[in-house]
């Protein structure tokens, strides 16, 4: 089987779960003898394939990040231009004999739907997030929603990363549930490190990820227990968050790391003793699996897709900072809790393999072939 997969980012140059997913999925599929031409925008640094079944084809030039929500109109304009340019180029560049096209999220939907018609082959769409998630369900942008809906309607099959996302696709976009398959994400384990007294937030600093709830929680914890709170990542909320930390009087206990490299991300997972993911809306949340694989007990938002499948973690409402603090304090105080959770959750995530994701994805492909 040979497929054309259209993506946006690929390790080592990635900003989110989309890149991680594409890497894991393509390798899982390659191991099952699927040949993949992976199309992506050309970056400053060249991306190389490390697998004979995966051929990476860079198209055009677009140095934009798929999940930025530029407030600035000019920047926003450039961003949309880049997306259009990439899609236009794709339509010209993708040719050859493929059994199907597989694309991810709205960024490549225009091209993918055009290619489906041009080549006359089935289209599979994986939904990693929707505009509702990215906006934190506050003023979602109709422009994105329309693109997403059109792509979802035209796709022959849709893969959703969680039951939660499937529900959004059905209820908000009016898509027939019968053509949607849920395939939960997986993780390449990172491995334990020496733990320090750190509580970690890692993600884009946007409304969707709920970093302000992390800071409110930090304040409550610090009234009882000592710890450092690390905010790893960048995003439009950074200035507000720095201000908030000062306002709460905890700025000496909060560390903003800025943008981290892949290696730095691994390191911070390893040395953190607790990972918190207070997302307002989180279709899946691979970072929870990554943190656990580094031996870090994890607290996830109940509205995260990962909470559907992960048993050995804490699940809280993202707004319930009292309860989040209650759990962090207990994890800091009681080694028995920390140790038991670390061991059980590490054992559990051995079930979350990319091989399983590839197997389920292949089942979807076969259903169409």
């Amino acid at each position: 089987m040979k497929i054309a997969m259209i993506g946006w980012e690929y390790p080592p140059f990635k900003v989110g779960g989309l890149g991680t997913h594409c890497y894991g999925l393509t390798h899982g599929l390659a191991d099952k003898n699927v040949q993949i031409d992976f199309y992506m925008p050309k970056l400053k640094q060249k991306v190389k394939s490390d697998n004979k079944n995966i051929n990476i084809i860079e198209v055009g030039e677009a140095e934009v990040h798929p999940y930025d929500r530029p407030d600035d109109k000019e920047l926003g304009g450039k961003f949309f231009d880049a997306v259009y340019r990439y899609n236009d180029l794709l339509i010209k560049r993708v040719r050859g004999t493929y059994d199907l096209i597989h694309c991810h999220d709205w960024l490549t939907m225009k091209a993918a739907t055009a290619l489906k018609e041009k080549l006359g082959i089935p289209l599979i769409l994986t939904v990693h997030s929707t505009e509702y998630d990215r906006s934190g369900w506050i003023y979602p942008n109709q422009w994105f929603i329309d693109i997403e809906r059109e792509g979802m309607q035209k796709a022959d099959r849709i893969i959703a990363v969680s039951e939660f996302t499937k529900r959004v696709v059905v209820e908000k976009y009016g898509i027939n549930p019968d053509k949607i398959t849920v395939v939960h994400n997986a993780v390449y384990p990172i491995g334990d490190g020496e733990k320090r007294n750190l509580v970690l937030f890692l993600g884009r600093l946007t409304i969707q990820k709920g970093p302000e709830f992390f800071l409110k929680t930090a304040k409550k914890v610090l009234d009882y227990e000592d710890a450092r709170f690390v905010i790893a990542g960048i995003g439009d909320m950074m200035p507000r968050l720095i201000e908030q930390a000062v306002h709460l009087g905890i700025s000496n206990k909060v560390i903003f790391t800025g943008k981290l490299t892949e290696e730095e991300v691994k390191h911070i997972y390893k040395i953190s003793s607790i990972y918190v993911m207070p997302s307002v809306s989180e279709p899946f949340g691979i970072t929870a699996l990554e943190a656990i694989s580094a031996g870090t007990p994890t607290i996830v938002s109940k509205s995260a897709g990962v909470s559907e499948v992960l048993k050995n973690c804490f699940k809280v409402d993202f707004w319930d900072t009292d309860e989040m603090a209650n759990k962090i304090i207990a994890l800091l105080r009681y080694d028995s809790l920390h140790d038991t959770m670390r061991q059980s959750s590490k054992r559990e995530i051995q079930l979350f393999t990319w091989d399983r994701v590839a197997e389920r994805t292949l089942q979807v492909y076969r259903g169409l072939a």
Binding site: K311, N312, C313, K315, N326, A330, L337, D339, T340
Partner: protein, 396 residues
């Protein structure tokens, strides 16, 4: 000729309120802040309607119908009886009526269904056994002759204590690790004291308790006729069928046919000339011990492991257990009776059971019974309450 010894465990724990770290040190009325009376009342009433009341009625009818040939035994925990007295006194009346038939025996246990049998000293255990004895005396004017510890937890030390307290028999699990090649269908004696031991036939007991509605089980569907045949073909003196009372109507819903099974069981059993029913007291009186039981380490009837790992299997459980014991020492020095009673309610083994992280097969059973989403939540909640009680034990 095997006698069938049918015995039911009747217990409800006093479940806890959500108790956050921010509540520690800020509680006034301990009882209402620690315990979730609303939830407890709701669950108790639900189970009473689904199980306790209908099953009592059916068993009373059956005992009368078979003129006392159908005989059963009960163990009622102190917390269960307090629920009855607070919310449903007619349920106690119903048990009294059953007892008056003369075909019903009562078994002793620790009042709080606790793990006090595993403490370093057995003084608290003895206190709780005596509290239970007083309760049975007060309500039924009866002195039980047979003892069964919480979840059938048993070791040589507990056996000695129970012999010292004057009981004739003790019940535990027919586990291979104490029986070896031997059958549970006989009466045994502890290696160290003069007492009779009744051993649960876990295969036949779990056929009803766990597997009754399991469609992938070769014995499905289990009928009273089939079950009586199995027992009639069994070898031994006594077949001990011990199970949770909630099996009837709660663990196995009415729709599974569990009540129909129970209704037909006495007649099907009594069709066999080699079978009869006996209460636990009758069983220990009637049959001689055929061999010794040696249990240097505690066994129980819980989970596949049949040891105490269900309650003390991970570090969280052990941390709570140690706190619990420590608080007890402090409270006993202080002599505060209200707090002592609250401490005892917290000793109910269920609180530690909810913190078990045992793997899938057993874990699923735990999740079914637990008010918490994950055992880690159970730990935090229980530990926070223990910390609050500890502060009170130290300062009040």
């Amino acid at each position: 000729m095997p006698s069938i010894c049918f015995y039911f465990e009747v217990h409800q724990p006093v479940r806890l309120n959500h108790f956050s770290v921010f509540n520690i040190g800020n509680t006034k009325d301990v009882h209402s802040t620690y315990f979730n009376q609303q939830l407890n009342k709701k669950i108790f009433e639900k189970v009473a309607n689904k199980c306790y009341l209908p099953t009592n009625n059916m068993l009373l009818d059956l005992i009368r119908q078979y003129d006392g040939k159908f005989r059963i035994s009960y163990s009622l925990t102190g917390t269960f009886v307090e629920y009855c007295e607070n919310y449903l006194p007619e349920l106690i009346d119903s048990f009294k009526e059953l007892f008056k038939t003369g075909a019903v025996d009562l078994i002793e246990e620790t009042y709080f269904h606790s793990l006090s049998g595993l403490y370093d000293e057995l003084d608290e255990f003895e206190d709780q056994v005596k509290m239970h004895r007083q309760m049975i005396q007060r309500i039924f004017n009866y002195k039980p002759k047979v003892f069964r510890n919480t979840e059938a937890i048993y070791d040589n030390r507990i056996a000695r204590k129970i012999a010292d307290l004057g009981y004739k028999g003790i019940i535990t699990e027919g586990a291979e690790k104490i029986l070896g090649w031997r059958s549970p269908n006989f009466v045994y004696k502890p290696v160290n004291v003069n007492l009779k031991v009744l051993l649960r036939n876990y295969t036949l007991s779990d056929d009803v308790g766990f597997r009754f509605s399991a469609r992938n089980w070769p014995g499905f569907p289990l009928t009273a006729t089939k079950y009586a045949d199995w027992m009639s073909n069994s070898f031994g003196d006594v077949i001990n069928l011990f199970m949770d009372y909630e099996t009837f109507g709660e663990h196995q819903w009415t729709e599974t046919g569990i009540f129909e099974f129970l209704r037909h069981l006495p007649s099907e059993v009594l069709k066999h000339n080699n079978l009869d029913f006996a209460t636990v007291s009758e069983a220990v009186e009637r049959y001689n011990a055929v061999g010794d039981i040696d249990a240097p380490w505690a066994i129980s009837w819980a989970d596949e492991d049949r040891n105490v790992s269900t309650w003390l299997g991970n570090n969280m459980q052990i941390a709570c257990f140690n706190e619990l014991k420590d608080i007890g020492r402090k409270l006993k020095r202080k002599g505060d009776h209200d707090l002592l009673y609250v401490w005892r309610l917290l000793q109910t083994s269920d609180h530690l059971y909810y913190i078990s992280t045992k793997g899938f097969e057993d874990g699923n059973v735990h999740a079914y019974f637990s008010p918490y989403e994950v055992p880690y939540d159970g730990f935090i909640n229980y530990m926070n309450i223990l910390q609050d009680l500890k502060e009170k034990a130290e300062h009040r």
